[in-house]
């Protein structure tokens, strides 16, 4: 189990140090700083073993979070915990930065006491935590005894993520399907690897203890229904369903039901949370196609032409498009011409960055650049890193569709129809690269 948890700033100074077990000595803090943060060659592995002690670290901007243990723990669990910890901190005080951590160190220690006990992860549900760890000082005077006992029964009870007696005038829920699409494409347009990792994030403002059921166009479910001979035509359903490679759920989802019937049913926490995470690799809709054309003119000149084509319904608008064209390390000057958007040579990043604010589907746009090179002693050829792209599109590149989200609350007097539901799809680029 986790023996201790440290937070460092970029210089390696310790901001937070919480040791849960005796087998972690005082020098463990320094060991990580010396061997990882200050290491000459950058340490790329997230797990480092130093003197029979394992350090698991994640980095958020300039902040290092390191969990340390002497035991043979489940590394995935530790990282899951660290990410959760980041989420909790973000939920409490926003961006994780040195300043924020310094300003909230009391709160962080309080949180650390709550979410880890003797190194064992405890309830890390932000919503639940917020009921008893607050930033407004001691709330004890306002809290009645009843409320306090309610917290206890909730935290220790079966449904630890939701308290009883929540009431909303308007029962409302927001469902966001957030996907990031990753691609590596050859210069000829052949897909070398592609996958989508997606999340379903739900924001729920529902009264009571509602029972929810979430349905999407999962291939297995659709096929099963198709066999059952429901209204859907079998051919059509096959097209619209997607094959999910793997998925994980929030703790509120009843896994036994998912295993047996593949139906996703749950009592949701109040507020925002991530309902599920999934990954698909088949039949991905690639929103953009990048066509590079690089021509070397002698030793001192390089001509680059890049065409991007949007490949989705013309009615949809992609946003925040950014194409990053790497330039050789001996670039001495760049001239760029583009029809749409703005393009600029960024010397500090060794790349030409081309930004387009908006672009409709089934359109294409083009940039051409002339790069002047300085002759060098080095015989090494330029490695030609891939052209990368960023964008945001209002649909799910995996093809995932929310079919329904039903809400049942038998005790209170509202039905599924009374709940106002919002669904939004956002597809973002992950690592979206085309070789040139």
């Amino acid at each position: 189990m986790i023996g201790g948890l440290f937070i460092y700033n970029h210089k390696g100074e310790v901001l937070i140090s919480r040791v849960y077990r005796d087998d972690i000595g005082r020098n463990a803090v320094d060991a990580f700083r010396v061997n990882v943060i200050h290491a000459r060659q950058q340490v790329r592995s997230p797990v480092t073993n130093i003197a029979r002690t394992s350090f698991f670290h994640v980095k958020r901007s300039n902040i290092w979070l390191a969990a340390v243990t002497k035991q043979n723990v489940n590394a995935a669990m530790v990282f899951e915990f660290l990410y959760k910890m980041c989420d909790v901190m973000t939920a409490y005080f926003g961006k994780i930065s040195e300043e924020n951590i310094k300003n909230n160190f009391v709160l962080i220690y309080e949180l650390l006491d709550e979410i880890l006990d003797f190194g064992y992860p405890q309830n890390s549900e932000t919503g639940a935590l917020k009921t008893f760890i607050t930033q407004q000082g001691i709330k004890g005077q306002h809290q009645t005894k009843e409320e306090q006992s309610q917290i206890t029964s909730q935290v220790t009870g079966q449904i630890g993520w939701r308290r009883e007696g929540i009431k909303y005038r308007r029962n409302e829920l927001f469902l966001d399907v957030l996907e990031s699409v990753n691609l590596l494409m050859s210069p000829q347009g052949q897909v070398l690897s592609a996958h989508v990792s997606g999340r379903v994030v739900m924001k729920s403002y529902l009264s009571g203890m509602p029972e929810c059921k979430f349905g999407m166009n999962d291939k297995i479910v659709i096929d099963k229904q198709g066999k059952g001979g429901t209204t859907d035509e079998p051919g059509k359903s096959g097209k619209q369903s997607i094959a999910i490679d793997d998925c994980t759920f929030h703790q509120c989802v009843r896994l036994s039901k998912f295993d047996s019937e593949r139906s996703i049913s749950f009592i949701p926490p109040d507020g925002e949370y991530e309902l599920m995470r999934y990954r698909t690799t088949k039949d991905i809709i690639l929103p953009f196609r990048v066509i590079p054309l690089v021509r070397e003119v002698g030793r001192t000149k390089l001509e680059v032409k890049v065409v991007i084509k949007s490949n989705f319904k013309p009615s949809l608008l992609a946003q925040k498009i950014e194409v990053r064209i790497p330039t050789p390390l001996n670039t001495s000057g760049v001239q760029v011409i583009c029809m749409k958007g703005k393009a600029k040579y960024k010397a500090s990043e060794n790349a030409i960055v081309w930004k387009i604010k908006r672009m409709a589907g089934m359109k294409e746009s083009q940039i051409s650049a002339e790069i002047e090179l300085l002759p060098t002693n080095d015989k090494k050829k330029w490695a030609r890193p891939p052209i990368s792209m960023n964008f945001e599109v209002p649909f799910a590149p995996s093809g995932l569709k929310v079919r329904y989200l039903k809400v049942f609350e038998s005790k209170l007097n509202y039905s599924d129809h009374d709940v106002i539901k919002w669904v939004r799809y956002i597809g973002r680029s992950g690592i979206y690269e085309t070789r040139c």
Binding site: Q42, L329, A347
Partner: protein, 935 residues
């Protein structure tokens, strides 16, 4: 040097550096550098000419970026351009960039060399110095090639300024150090010597500006030190007067060092001590003035307790060399208490190390016990970095100066106990060598290891020593009920499971030795060997040992066991393996190895040992006599030795017990006695003698089972006395066969054996090992006689020749023994080539007598045994003899040879009837096998 003017401040560089320093993360730093690089690239693009200042600034920035650890692949040209500038600062930056960044194979090197040449030939001393510094800093071979001719000229030119000369001298020294072949000393040495009265570059540089200079009341300390060091490069002066003056000087230095300090400043004492230490090392270097040496030693003794750590260190170091001198050895010894104290109390590990070195160096017979005891007690707390060396030193001292062996054994066992991890293999090998070679300590050693093993946690090395010694000499302490055989075994076995594989293998060997030493433990040990964890061990070596030992213990009779598992013979005298190890280890520990070896000669009575391993039960039987070997090794070999490959199969497969040895007859070409046949039922031994054409053969039929053989009959196509029809279980009957050779023959007589074992009828047919060469009568003849006859026998049918490859390295003694075994006379000093073997003999049959000659021409280089064995006219059967001989001499029959290869190739050791440490098994076995083959 011209002062740097204010305008040269290079603000841009300062801004850039402060930007970099303010970066909060590595990423930010890289971004800033990329930006700057792009900026510099755009500036260097060549659209418009840059002025010297900006060029210098950008080159500086590039240099800074390079020093931050980023690759720079441009800007070299600009730096070279700076070299031709007339401004000092620009030139300086250019040279700086080049000495840091330009590699020798760059295309620019010609431009650079040109620029340097220009500067060297300029009249400006500053520029000359810069160029010289650059040459020295780069110091590459190319530089040496380009400028080796030029620099001496600058050095000796009359109009060169002193500072330039100094630079030139240092530069030349640097080039001389990197490529002495290019810097030709001869041409200019005399002129340099003439100019500065000294050829040594350090001195020349120093002497130019260090005369008449007093530094904190010490006159010219650097110069003095350098001069003293220079003198150490030469042998002591021959001339008496010069020598007298030198000794006088040295005495003065020693006297001066004794004077009370003139200043309390640390520089004063440093300078004084520096000269003193150099003087002492010169004294040590001369090593001929006893009173100086003793004085030096005494003065160093004062430093031993100085409060300055560095001085203590230096004193210990110098003392170490003093201890090796015969004159001052005694004087050094008087400081033993101080040194021991230093070893225990010094805070700095390097000083402790020196103290340990000194103790080691000053050790002799008189103080060995004390020093070894102190080192041992220190070892418990010693720093990890010096432990291994300490262990080696203790081991060597204990061995070298051991007066009684029980002390030696105690010391080493203590050593293993205290610092087991640091005790290398060599150390415990050595103990065993010595224990085996000295009868008088064996009992004591057994008792001591037994006691040492009783500690609940023993080091593995201790278990190894324990296993070996108890396996060999456990019987010496078995009388005591507290260390009865079973107790010994249980003690060893309690450690078994905690040990590594090699140790376990050694322990298994110890167990089989136990079976031999104490028959009462046999069942217990067999039980252990039979357990799944042994006989089905996943480690091949362990499994093989377990299987073989189990079989060996159950099959072989006690006599056989006793022979196979005989006590190890003494090791031949060799260089101590520990000493060899210490020699291998670099560092101050090896300083006094020469002296050690001398010491070893005087303390030689202990050095019975050598590398164990060349010895094994078989190989150790020193006599080359084939007969003896054949008799002794016969039975056990058939049980386990690899050469008898087919037999090995026999032992394990129950199916057909009657497989005769295919190559057994070849074995008997050169010998008369041995085991003809063996399976799990029956063993047939042979003893035979031949005189002229008559022979008598004794066949021994041994019943290996506990059941009797009924209706035992043998039939032979030769006359034989009938054998008794009944062989009791475990009994042996004898049969005598008289043989007479009537005429030459090619097929050996066949022996048919029939008997009933249990209910089953067993039938065996064997070839009797009777070959024509048995009837050889050796003949002596002189050289010319031999060659006359040799030439006469030139007809093709009179000659048989065979060229074959030897499987094993040729051993003259072995070959001789084999040729003698063939029955012919080995003629010495007959063949002009001493490598060749020449034999002569007469074959005696009843019908005729046939003389034959043999010549064996070994070709050592090609490992060929190019045997041209001219034997006998018209006697075709001799050919088969030649074949057999070939087989014996090296070309082993297929079965045996291949078997060996398999065994060797698999990496596993051969069936080990030998008792040896695991590490040596491979070597040993090939040795044993080769001997076995040649029989």
């Amino acid at each position: 040097m011209p002062a740097v003017s204010k305008g040269d401040g290079m603000r841009g560089l300062a801004v850039f550096i402060s930007d970099i320093r303010n970066c909060k993360s590595k990423e930010a730093e890289i971004k800033r550098i990329n930006k700057e690089l792009a900026n510099i690239r755009s500036k260097f693009k060549g659209d418009k000419a840059l002025d010297g200042y900006s060029k210098k600034k950008y080159v500086c920035k590039l240099l800074f970026i390079f020093l931050l650890g980023h690759d720079i692949d441009f800007g070299h040209m600009e730096a070279v351009n700076l070299l031709s500038s007339n401004k000092y600062t620009e030139k300086q930056i250019g040279y700086l960039f080049i000495s840091v960044l330009v590699n020798s194979n760059s295309e620019l090197i010609r431009l650079i060399n040109n620029a340097i040449k220009n500067d060297l030939s300029s009249r400006n001393p500053t520029f000359m110095c810069l160029a010289l510094h650059c040459i020295a800093n780069v110091g590459s071979r190319e530089m040496a090639e380009a400028f080796a001719g030029e620099i001496p000229r600058i050095l000796v030119a009359g109009d060169t300024m002193d500072s330039v000369k100094q630079s030139a001298a240092l530069c030349l020294l640097r080039l001389y150090k990197t490529s002495p072949d290019l810097v030709l000393m001869g041409e200019w040495t005399s002129r340099v010597v003439h100019l500065l009265n000294d050829q040594h570059m350090i001195v020349s540089s120093a002497s130019t500006d260090l005369q008449d200079y007093t530094y904190y009341f010490v006159p010219a300390p650097w110069l003095s030190c350098k001069l003293l060091r220079l003198l150490q490069c030469y042998p002591p002066p021959e001339d008496g007067a010069v020598k007298g003056r030198l000794v006088e000087c040295l005495e003065t230095i020693l006297n001066k060092a004794q004077e009370p300090p003139k200043s309390k400043k640390v520089q004063h004492s440093n300078a004084k001590n520096a000269i003193l230490f150099e003087a002492i090392s010169l004294i040590i270097h001369y090593d001929s003035e006893p009173n100086l040496l003793v004085r030096a030693c005494n003065q160093l003794g004062q430093f031993l307790q100085h409060r300055e750590t560095n001085l203590r260190y230096l004193a210990l170091e110098s003392m170490c060399t003093l201890a090796s001198s015969e004159f001052s050895h005694e004087a050094v010894k008087t400081h033993i208490e101080t040194v021991i104290n230093a070893l225990k109390t010094e805070r700095d590990v390097s000083v402790r190390q020196r103290a340990a070195d000194l103790l080691y160096a000053m050790c002799d017979r008189s103080n060995a016990k004390q020093i070894v005891a102190e080192m041992l007690s220190y070892l418990e707390t010693a720093d990890y970095s010096i432990r291994e060396e300490m262990v080696l030193k203790v081991a060597i001292l204990a061995e070298k100066y051991a007066v009684d062996y029980s002390w030696y054994v105690d010391t080493i066992l203590n050593l293993i106990r205290i610092a087991g991890d640091y005790v290398s293999e060599e150390v415990w090998y050595r103990v065993i060598q010595i224990v085996i070679n000295r009868d008088d300590v064996q009992g004591y050693a057994a008792k001591t290891v037994f006691e040492a093993l009783q500690a609940p946690a023993c080091h593995e090395n201790m278990v190894k020593v324990g296993g070996y010694i108890l396996g060999e000499f456990g019987n010496l302490i078995a009388g005591d009920p507290r260390s009865s055989p079973l107790v010994q075994f249980n003690l060893l076995h309690s450690k078994f499971h905690l040990c590594s594989v090699p140790t376990r293998a050694l322990l298994l060997s110890a167990y089989i030795k136990f079976i031999n030493l104490f028959p009462e433990t046999k069942s217990t040990i067999q039980e252990v060997l039979r357990s799944d964890s042994q006989i089905r061990n996943s480690d091949v070596e362990l499994q093989q040992r377990a299987v073989e030992y189990l079989k060996l213990s159950s099959i072989a009779s006690t006599d056989v066991l006793a022979t196979v598992l005989e006590e190890m013979p003494p090791f031949p005298e060799r260089e101590s393996s520990i000493l060899a190890k210490l020699k291998k280890k670099k560092g101050p520990g090896a300083v006094s190895v020469n002296e050690l070896e001398e010491g070893k000669r005087e303390g030689g009575e202990l050095n019975g040992g050598g590398e164990r391993g060349d010895n094994s039960a078989i190989a150790s039987t020193p006599s080359p006599s084939a007969d003896l070997l054949g008799l002794r090794t016969g039975p056990p070999v058939t049980a386990a030795a690899p050469s008898a490959g087919s037999l090995l199969v026999d032992v394990f497969s129950e199916a057909d017990p009657a497989t005769p040895l295919p190559e057994s007859n070849e074995l008997f070409v050169c010998k008369n006695n041995g085991v003809l046949f063996e399976n799990q039922l029956l063993q047939i031994g042979i003893k035979s003698e031949y005189r002229q054409n008559l022979g008598r053969m004794y066949l021994f039929y041994g019943n290996k089972t506990s059941v009797q053989f009924i209706t035992f009959t043998t039939t032979l196509n030769v006359q034989s006395k009938p054998v008794e029809p009944l062989i009791e279980g475990g009994a042996q009957v004898q049969q005598v066969i008289n043989i007479e050779c009537l005429t030459d023959f090619s097929d050996a007589p066949l022996l048919n054996i029939k008997f009933r074992y249990g209910g089953a009828l067993q039938n065996l047919t064997l070839k009797l090992p009777v070959t024509i060469n048995k009837f050889f009568q050796p003949t002596e003849m002189a050289s010319h006689d031999f060659f006359q006859r040799w030439k006469q026998l030139s007809l093709p049918q009179q000659e048989a020749q065979k060229i074959f490859k030897a499987n094993h390295a040729m051993d003259t003694e072995v070959l001789k023994a084999k040729l003698l075994g063939l029955g012919m006379a080995l003629l010495e000093n007959v063949d002009p080539n001493p490598e060749n073997f020449v034999c002569a003999g007469v074959i005696q049959t009843k019908a005729q007598q046939v003389g034959s000659l043999l010549r064996l021409e070994p070709n050592a280089q090609a490992q060929n045994l190019g045997g041209r064995s001219v034997l006998h006219p018209a006697c075709s059967t001799i050919n088969s003899c030649v074949d057999s001989l070939c087989v014996c001499c090296g070309l082993r029959g297929e079965g045996g040879g291949r078997k060996v290869k398999q065994k060797d190739g698999s990496g596993a050791s051969l069936p080990s009837l030998l008792f040896y440490p695991q590490n040596f098994s491979r070597k040993n076995c090939t040795l044993a096998v080769s001997l076995e083959h040649s029989l």
